[in-house]
C-alpha cells in the first residue's frame, strides 16, 4: 500500500523544524502501509502534547482525547470493535506522567493495542520542564538545580508487569524503528514501543548525536527471557534498543471479557435481547 494514502492535504504542522516527531510520523505511515491496514480500519488515539498532535497529520480515524488519557479510550475502542487496529500514541509526559496510572493498568489489562510513546525526556509544548524520563541533573526553568527525581523506567515497569510486548527504538533509525513498530502492531495484546526522540528546542542534552552515542541494539537476545529482558531494561550506562520482551501466551483483554467468544460482531451491530430482559424482569416477581 502506498503511504500517501495516509497523507493529509494542506496542513500546517505545528512541530519545530528538525523535531524528532517528523521521522516518527513518516515511519508510522510506512509501517501501517506495509502491513496493508486501510485508513478506515485504523484508529489513532492520542492525548495532549507535541507528540499527541500526530493524528492530525495522519489521514485516518482519530480520537485525540485528554492529556494522559489516551489508553482508556484506546482500550474501549478496541473492545467495542476488535476489527479496528488501534494505536495509542503520545509523549513521555502524557503517557508516563499524567497518564501513569492508566499505563500501569492498561498493561495489566492487555488490550490488543499498540502504545507508541515519543520519549524526548522533556516537556515540549509547555516549554522545557522536566518530564518523568528526564535524566538526573537535567536543568530546566523549573528544575533550576537540575532534576533529582529518579527517571521513570517505562521498560522495566512494563516487564515487571509482564507486559506482552516491550520494545524501544530511536527515531533517528527509520528502518529498525519501522520493523519494531510493525511487529508491535502485529503482536496480539498490549505492545509498548518507547521511541527515543530528540527535542531540538528544549533538550540540548539528549540530542541526535547523544542518542547515537549512547544506544546500541540488542543482539543474540531472546525476547522470551523475561529476566534477561529486565536486566537489559535497567541498564543505564548504555541504552539498549530493540524488542526486549514478548509474552506470546497472554490472552488479550478482548478475549478475556468473553464478549466475542461466540461471535465477532462489534457492539454497534448488536441488539439487546428484549425477550431475555422480560424473563429477567419476571424473576423479580419472586415466584416459587
Amino acid at each position: 500500500m502506498d503511504t500517501q494514502i495516509f497523507d493529509m492535504a494542506n496542513i500546517d504542522i505545528a512541530w519545530c523544524p528538525g523535531c524528532g516527531n517528523f521521522p516518527i510520523l513518516k515511519i508510522l505511515k510506512q509501517a501501517v502501509a506495509e502491513l496493508g491496514i486501510e485508513p478506515i480500519n485504523l484508529v489513532l488515539v492520542s492525548g495532549i502534547g507535541q507528540a499527541a498532535k500526530i493524528p492530525h497529520y495522519f489521514k485516518t480515524n482519530v480520537f485525540n482525547g485528554l492529556h494522559g488519557r489516551a489508553l482508556p479510550p484506546a482500550t474501549a475502542i478496541k473492545a467495542a470493535n476488535p476489527a479496528l487496529t488501534v494505536i495509542a500514541e503520545s509523549g513521555d509526559g502524557d503517557m508516563y506522567g499524567e497518564g501513569g496510572n492508566h499505563f500501569l493498568h492498561t498493561i495489566r489489562r492487555n488490550p490488543d493495542i499498540t502504545n507508541i510513546v515519543h520519549n524526548n525526556m522533556v516537556y515540549g509544548l509547555t516549554k522545557g520542564q522536566a518530564s518523568p524520563t528526564s535524566q538526573k541533573g537535567f536543568k530546566t526553568p523549573v528544575q533550576v538545580n537540575g532534576v533529582f527525581l529518579e527517571p521513570f523506567n517505562p521498560l522495566a515497569v512494563a516487564i515487571a508487569l509482564d507486559a506482552s510486548f516491550v520494545a524501544r527504538c530511536f527515531a533517528g533509525d527509520a528502518e529498525q524503528t519501522k520493523e519494531i513498530i510493525k511487529n508491535a502492531i502485529k503482536h496480539k495484546g498490549y505492545a509498548l514501543v518507547d521511541i527515543f526522540q530528540p527535542c531540538v528546542s528544549f533538550n540540548k542534552l539528549n540530542t541526535y548525536q547523544w542518542f547515537k552515542e549512547n544506544t546500541y541494539y540488542l543482539e543474540d537476545h531472546d525476547p522470551l527471557d523475561r529476566q534477561r529482558a529486565f536486566e537489559k531494561a535497567i541498564q543505564t550506562d548504555e541504552l539498549p534498543l530493540g524488542i526486549f520482551y514478548i509474552n506470546p501466551e497472554k490472552p488479550s483483554f478482548e478475549e478475556n471479557i468473553g464478549t466475542y467468544q461466540e461471535k465477532q460482531t462489534p457492539l454497534y451491530r448488536r441488539e439487546p435481547d428484549l425477550q431475555k430482559l422480560c424473563n429477567l424482569v419476571d424473576k423479580f416477581k419472586i415466584l416459587i
Binding site: 480520537f63 482525547g65 485528554l66 479510550p73 475502542i77 479496528l84 492508566h102 457492539l267 439487546p272 415466584l287
Partner: protein
Amino acid sequence: MRNDLSIVLCGQAGQGIQTVEYLLTRIFKLAGYNVFATKEYMSRIRGGTNSTEIRISSGFVRASVSRIDILIPLNQGAVQHVEKRISPQTIILVDKETITDDFDQTRHKFIDVPFTKTASEIGNKIYSNVVAVGTIAGLFGIGLQTASEYVKQFFSAKSDDVVQKNLAAAKEGFNLGAGLVNSSKIKFDIRNDADVKNQILLSGTEAVALGAIAGGCNFISAYPMSPSTGVLVFLARQAKDFGIIAEQAEDEIAAMNMAIGAWYAGARAMVTTSGGGFALMTEGLSLAGMLESPIVIHLAQRPGPATGLPTRTEQADLELALYAGHGEFPRIILTPGNIEDAFYLTQKAFNLADRYQIPVFILTDQYFMDSYYNTACLDLSDINIEKHIIKTDVDYKRYKLTANGISPRGIPGFGEGLVVVDSDEHDEAGHITEDLDLRVEMVDKRLKKLELLKDETIPPELSGPDDYKNLVVCWGSTYNIVREAVKNLGRDDIAFLHFRQVYPLPNETSIYLQKAQRTIIVENNATSQFAKLIKLHTGIDIKEKILKYNGLSFYVEELTEKLNDLLN
C-alpha cells in the same frame, strides 16, 4: 389494629440482618402483602449497628417511616441505636438470653422470644435468624407453607441437612409467632392484596441497571464506590446474557474516558459513581462536551464534602452535576422519584444521549438505591432503542455545521469515511484549529442543542387538586415520602410538584409556581440547591424550605409535621 406496620431489624454488620430482610420481604411479597424496605448502615463490614426497616401494608407502601411497630434487636445496643424511633406502642421482640441490655421495662414493651435457644435446640444458634423470620411469619399468619417453601428455595444450594435445619428453624419460629398471637400479646390486621402477586419487587439499584439494559447499554466502566456500585455489580452479573462489557477501571478518570471511547466506536456506554468519583470524572465530562460524545452517567449521591458519610444519603450533588466540567456545553439531568422512573428514565437516557450527543445524568442517592418495594411489572412493549449512528461516506465530516447543531454521528469502521474527534477546538472534519471565527461557530453549534433540549423536557408531575393554594416542590428520591406526607395532611388546598427532570428546567415550572399562594421546597441538602436552580431560571424565589442533611432521608412523619408547622 393497624393495617400498616413498620418492622425494624437492628444489629451488627455481618450478623445476618441482610438475610432476614431478604427472606422476610420476599415471603411477605409471596404472601401478597405490599412491602417496602430500606436500610441505614455504617461504613464497615463487621460490627457497628445497622438497621433495616420493612413496612408492610394492605395498600401501597413506598416510603420510610420513623415509627417502629415491631423491633427485633439482634445485638447489645441495638435498642439504643433506634431509641428515638421507639414509642410505648413499639413491640420489642427480644431474645433476653443473648441481649442483656438493662432494659427499662416501664418505658418499653418487651416480649422475650427465645430465638437462640430455639435455634440451639435445632442444632446451632446460627439458625436464630431463620427462627426470627419464622416468628414474624407466624405473627402475620402467613401460611407456614409459603414461608417454608421460600426458605427451602433460598437455601437450595446448601446441603440437605442445612435445608432441613433451616426449615425446622422456620417452623419453630412460626410456632413462636403464632403462640404470641394466640395468647393475644400481639394482633395485626394486614390484608393481602391480590395485585401484589404479579408485581415485581425491585430496588432503585436494580431499576437503574435494568433500565440500562433496556436502553441498549453494552459497556459499563466504573470504579466501585458506595452507593453506586450495585449497578456495576448487576450489569457484570448479566454481562454474559446480554453481551455487556463490564469493566472495573483503575480509577474514575479511566472509567469515564473508557466509556467515551466506547461510544466513539459504536457502543452504548455508561458510568456509575458517587460524588467523589464523579469529581474525578469531570475532566472526562468536559471531553464528552467537546467531542459531542453521548455518555450516560449514573451519579448516586452520598453526603460530602470529600469522603463525607460514605454509606448515607443526600441530595447535595445537583450543583456538581449541573456545573461539572470546564467550558460550556449542554447536558440533561434526570432525577427518578420512584422505581418505575428509574427504569424508564435510565432507558431513555441512552436514547437522549445518542440523539443529542451529550452527557445525560441519572441522579439518584443512597436512600433511593437501597430502597425497594413491590410495583407493577415493567412494561417493555414500548421500549425503543434509538440508534443514531450513520454509515459514513468518503467525504464524512464528524462536526458538519447543521441548522440544529446536531452533526450526524459516524463511527470508525462503518462506512467509507474517517471519524476524527478532538478535545481541542476543531474544524468540521474534527481536526485541531485556532481559527477564532470557526471557534465561535462551533461553540454556537454545541449550545444550539440546549434549545432543542428545552423543548423536550419531561414535565414535572403535579399531584393533588388543580386549584391548590399551597404547593410543595421536590425532586428525585423524596417523591414517595412527600407524597405520603402530603396525603397525611388531609388538606384539599395542597398539591405537590415532583421533578424527574431538573435540567434543563421544564418550561411548565413557572406556571405551576405562579399559581401557588405559598410554595415550600423539600430537599435532602443544606443549601436548597434546586431552589437556587429554579430561581436562576424562573426568577421565582422559593423562601420556605424544609431541608435535611444529617445523612438520612426524611421520615414520612417528620416531613408531615414540618409541613403542618409551616402551614398552620
